[in-house]
Subunit: 204 residues, 2 copies
DNA sequence: TGATTAAAAGCGACCGGTCGTGCTATTAAT
DNA sequence: ATTAATAGCACGACCGGTCGCTTTTAATCA
């Protein structure tokens, strides 16, 4: 029984890596089976359909995100350090590529832009929850006086994710090495704009 | 002959729309053929392979981008209006979805993150050229004193594309209606930071 | 301890379907 | 009659998924 659970986890791990390369939909069960060291029919003993496997992979991604990004960030002091740790963990996840990272929600979405279904719903839910977590961090930093009170946390999240997306796209697809520096600089600018202003009176 | 050229353009138009929905790789020649009103084998009279068709579609996207985004932007006065027109046209392209827009490079890239080939190369080239055009606009605005001299044009382009990506992702996939406003606000912030400072001495 | 047995897991073969891609016959215009 | 273009069709490869059989595993009982 324990052995079986181990196999199931192995399959999800391999599927996680493959999905990072070719997406959740393009993932071939035959390729996954041979990668995980069993036959295609053996897969169906663990997952009753491709969709069930995809949903399991999305669950797994959520757990990885919690473990690798969210939990370590929450271990940091409240306010800017916590938001910054969130950024650092996130950028590191993207930069690592694989193993252990490399596939995050965003790369998997475009396949489902116009394709409704349980997989799409779960992807959307996962990302909304992720955004909400970051938004909560920012809101807490505002409440405790680390960020300016007139900041819009959702706008912050919007810009944050834009930076991460541009970083992922320009480093992984366009292979521009300077993307890393620009991402960090853009994030620093975002933080600077979000901090309470040091000079007391600056009216535009 | 003229008739043939017309048919070829029709096929590319349909392929452009289909690729916007399901990507360049997921595009099915059978679906495309029936959509364009000919048989699957009829396609091969116009394009000798799927790859040739994909390359033609990418060329077509480049022409559309020139026509719909770049050319109108260049008609605006130099400096901020030109950069702003670039942004407005781009955001409009994304918002339109279809017909006539909706498919832009970014949504097509993830399929080729780890798949080398002529299609990937052409996609990369198209995007680098697109980025270079925007970078040239920003650089000109700097040279003519509209933007601050210590601005990094590539960093500007990085943030610009990040905003557009976040907008596309959050409006088309997550269906968040506020994405439009946040994109515009983020762009205004980017412009404000890029302008020459009105208050003469601000060291920080 | 060693034999029995039932269940769990894995395997190869195979199904219907779709894919990209060539070949061939038919059509239609010159 | 010639020729260019098209439709129909067959092909091999691959897809997600099913089925029946064999092997391994682990608990049971003598």
């Amino acid at each position: 029984m324990g052995k079986g659970e181990r196999t199931r986890k192995d399959i999800i791990d391999k599927a996680f890596l493959l999905a990072g390369d070719i997406g959740l939909e393009g993932l071939s069960l035959g390729a996954l089976a041979s990668e995980a060291g069993l036959s295609k029919s053996g897969l169906f003993a663990h997952f009753k359909s491709k969709e069930a496997l995809q949903l399991a992979v999305i669950d797994d991604i959520g757990e990885r995100v919690s473990e690798i990004i969210i939990r370590p960030a929450l271990a940091e002091p409240r306010g800017e350090p916590r938001v910054r740790a969130f950024f650092e963990r996130y950028i590191e996840w993207i930069a690592n590529g694989r193993p252990g990272g490399g596939c995050i929600y965003m790369a998997l979405c475009h396949e489902y832009d116009d394709r409704p279904g349980a997989v799409r719903d779960k992807l959307v839910a996962g990302q909304l929850e992720f955004s909400a977590t970051l938004e909560r961090l920012v809101r807490a930093a505002m409440d405790e006086g680390h960020f300016r009170a007139d900041l819009d946390p959702r706008a912050f999240v919007f810009e944050f994710l834009g930076i991460e997306m541009a970083y992922q796209h320009r480093s992984k697809f366009l292979r521009l090495p300077e993307a890393h520096d620009y991402a960090r600089a853009a994030f620093n600018g975002l933080i600077a704009r979000s901090r309470v202003p040091t000079s007391p009176s600056s009216t535009e």
